[in-house]
Amino acid sequence: MDRMDRRGFLECMAWVGTGVVWTASGGVFTSRVLTADAAEGSQGNFNFVQVSDTHVGFKGEANPDAAVTLQQVVQKINALPAPPTFVMHTGDLTHGQKPGAFDTVSEIMKGAKTGKVIYIPGEHDVFADGGKEYLGRFAGGGPGWQSFDVNGVHFVALVNVLKYKGERIGALGPEQITWLKQDLAPLKDSTPVVVFAHVPLWAVYPAWGWTTEDSQQAMALLTRFGSVTVLNGHIHQVVQKVEGNVTFHTARSTAFPQPAPGTAPGPGPMKIPEDQARPMIGLTEVRYVVGTSPLAVIDSTLA
């Protein structure tokens, strides 16, 4: 991995199309080149893909069929230089939990060449029935949150949409925070930790509900770790923030873009022509390289 220079920048742009590589070190963003060779050259390196807000069932001006753009994202996943170890779907699988929508998402995602597809819910997946169908299908009837390890990196997938109704905001709830505390307890401070959740775990724009009420309790448990990467969805655009050793990043939707905070009367789908929307929807690839603490987060679009 080299420091960014002009040549490197061009190389990077050529590789990821319209994507940009950002890494964070000591609270300061630096752009770096991360080639396929770098990712594959050392044992223990791996990559994974974050897909978010597929909203299958959505039909609007920006996208006549969200199932089609999801299929195109799967094709992009299958064209990556290295197949991802897993694909994490960070919620809003469906647009309104209409009958058959979960089936469609599952079927399309089966086409992704990856070890495993993991899901966490968005509010669109659980509002109609309190999560009964989603949790039955994707969480074996459990609470939906989970953790796992890949090559020394600890992954935590949180659920912050099930209390959406009562709390009037994204929320994790005391039961999940207690679980998180126990889950993280055995880990060394040097363990890289990646946290997924649908609604951002920091206050992006509370007026539109783009925040998680009790996220500070979760983040307090994570501050001791040297490298924490928080990957969220929900807001259908890339927003990044660094706070100490914690890098926050939100992914694009695969279906339609939403306006930047406060730039529209409401947070709904942007009503723009399809060709203008394509550079605003896509996927996120994340690469972990042994010996480098920040993970490289690479966003690319369907343009």
């Binding site: 609007g60 309104g96 939990q97 509010e123 959406y164 539109w208 009367p265 947070p267 709904g268 789908p269």
Partner: protein, 132 residues
């Protein structure tokens, strides 16, 4: 939006809609209230039987945010957004499923009271039906 709704429905009672504060002329608040109240009294019986009052959902807002109706009135909400919305009452054990673009939901209010409601997907959206 309001005119479209009223034209489509044909015979929405003025009193049931205009009492909310969407005055088209710069009448005094008191004057408008008296006129609207008179309209409710005059048209109440017929309006209850046939005319839904209407609320549009647009730009993640309920329009009008507060609607005052007579007991027995059916209120119809129509989603004008591409985003899914719901009509979910705080106190009434009723509410809509997810409404996609141009889908609607109706509810008939049989008891006087104040009925706040929200959208399960966008809790910052707030509306109120006042039933007299």
């Amino acid at each position: 939006m309001r005119w479209q709704g009223r034209e489509a429905l044909g015979n929405v009672a003025d009193g049931e809609v205009d009492v909310v504060g969407h005055r088209r002329k710069p009448w005094s608040v008191l004057g408008a209230g008296v006129v609207a109240l008179a309209a409710v009294i005059a048209l109440g019986a017929d309006a209850r039987a046939v005319s839904p009052a209407v609320v549009d959902i647009k730009d993640s807002k309920y329009l009008p945010p507060t609607l005052t109706v007579a007991v027995g009135t059916t209120v119809r909400w129509t989603n004008r957004d591409e985003e899914t919305h719901t009509v979910t009452f705080d106190t009434e054990r009723a509410g809509s499923a997810g409404l996609d673009l141009n889908e609607d939901y109706t509810h008939t209010f049989t008891k006087a009271g104040v009925y706040p409601y929200t959208c399960d997907l966008h809790p910052f959206m707030q509306g109120t039906i006042v039933v007299n």
